[in-house]
Symmetry: C2
Subunit: 200 residues, 2 copies
DNA sequence: AATTGACCGAAATGGAAAATCAGTCATAAC
DNA sequence: GTTATGACTGATTTTCCATTTCGGTCAATT
């Protein structure tokens, strides 16, 4: 088997183990066993566990980013693009599961490396949103706002609706999530009937 | 000294200790010492530590609720009331500090009782918001939405702006928080061109 | 009758012994 | 000669268990 194949095999095994058991609970012996190589072989391709993890994480983040970018169509509106990206990402099982496992690990054990990984993902998402928001601002598709704050709020709203809410009530479906993102973010709660009212 | 005074003295001492050291780190000996009573005396008024804590927590929650209710003026709009309640609560040091300490404790040590206490507070806040949102809906002040979801989103948005955001960037000031709650919740991000009024 | 603090057992803490794991390297396989 | 391997090593983690701490009681005291 070629060196390239071996490397891929190790990456596949490691990715599987990280999404199944998290960062802390995957051992290098474990990865070697799944990949059907001796443990030493891993170290001919990756200098340590951290680097192996980082490569998997970076690949996952990059794939999500590319997927998102592939869904954006400059002919469409900001919110149309937002929703098609959201849909695509929600369907995207593979990478998703790694990040869900890492979230669990942070909650339950507080593994530092898992926390870092999620922070990196968050930064990439925020940067991506900021960029899209800035573009939408330029093209006067959305109202005046600081893209950094807007990106942050959008991200938090998304997490609140998809993940936090289910700890309080029945989880929301995809359509409901779309509906509420549109309601809160795009349209606003204030009743158009009552407009214009006094701002401070 | 009367039994009533003694009881109050114990409550005051316990409240002080809970907000200073959290639930786990306040001992009954500690409370007795601060209150200047024998430890046994505490147990003539409260059957155990849990009950003592609950009484303090319930009082704090009730006070916050009453404060909020006192700020609501049915002549004013939903959002006007929302902002005056928010301002009042942000100024409300006393109870605030207990809840901040409990939040820390949940983060750092994960004390179950502290988590429960904060969950109770959250429930009361959500119920209160749901009630106000339902009222606003009835009076056609806000657009159609599920009060439970809307309350949840408003709460999360508030936490995101006041507490979460400062872990990513410079914390937002009171006016900025108002501004963004108005922008995201009330008015919506979608292009002002399509709206009959100007954004800030 | 009310108050107290020494006392009790359960639970938390700390630290030492045992186990586990990331990473190395001498040997084996080719 | 080159690459792959797994037994080995020291650092870290986990697992005990001895000791301490703390919530709660109650016999003695006021």
């Amino acid at each position: 088997m070629s060196a390239v194949d071996r490397r891929k095999q190790i990456l596949r095994a490691a990715a599987q183990s990280f999404t199944l058991f998290g960062y802390k609970a995957t051992t290098m012996d474990q990865v070697a066993k799944i990949a059907n190589v001796g443990k030493g072989t891993i170290y001919t391709f990756f200098s340590n566990k951290e680097e192996l993890f980082d490569e998997i994480l970076n690949t996952a983040i990059l794939e999500m980013k590319r997927l998102a970018e592939s869904k954006v169509d400059r002919e469409k509106t900001f919110f149309e693009n937002l929703f098609s990206v959201l849909d695509a990402l929600l369907e995207f099982r593979g990478e998703h599961e790694l990040f869900i496992k890492l979230s669990q690990e942070v909650r339950d054990v507080g593994t530092l490396k898992a926390r870092d990984g999620l922070a990196r993902l968050e930064r990439v998402i925020l940067e991506y949103l900021e960029k899209e928001i800035a573009y939408a601002l330029d093209h006067e598709e959305i109202g005046t706002c600081d893209p950094q704050v807007a990106a942050f709020v959008m991200f938090k709203l998304y997490i609140a609706l998809t993940s936090d809410y289910k700890h309080v009530r029945e989880p929301l479906g995809k359509e409901e999530i779309h509906h509420y993102i549109r309601l809160f973010l795009a349209d606003g709660l204030a009743n158009p009937e009552c407009r214009p009212y006094q701002h401070t």
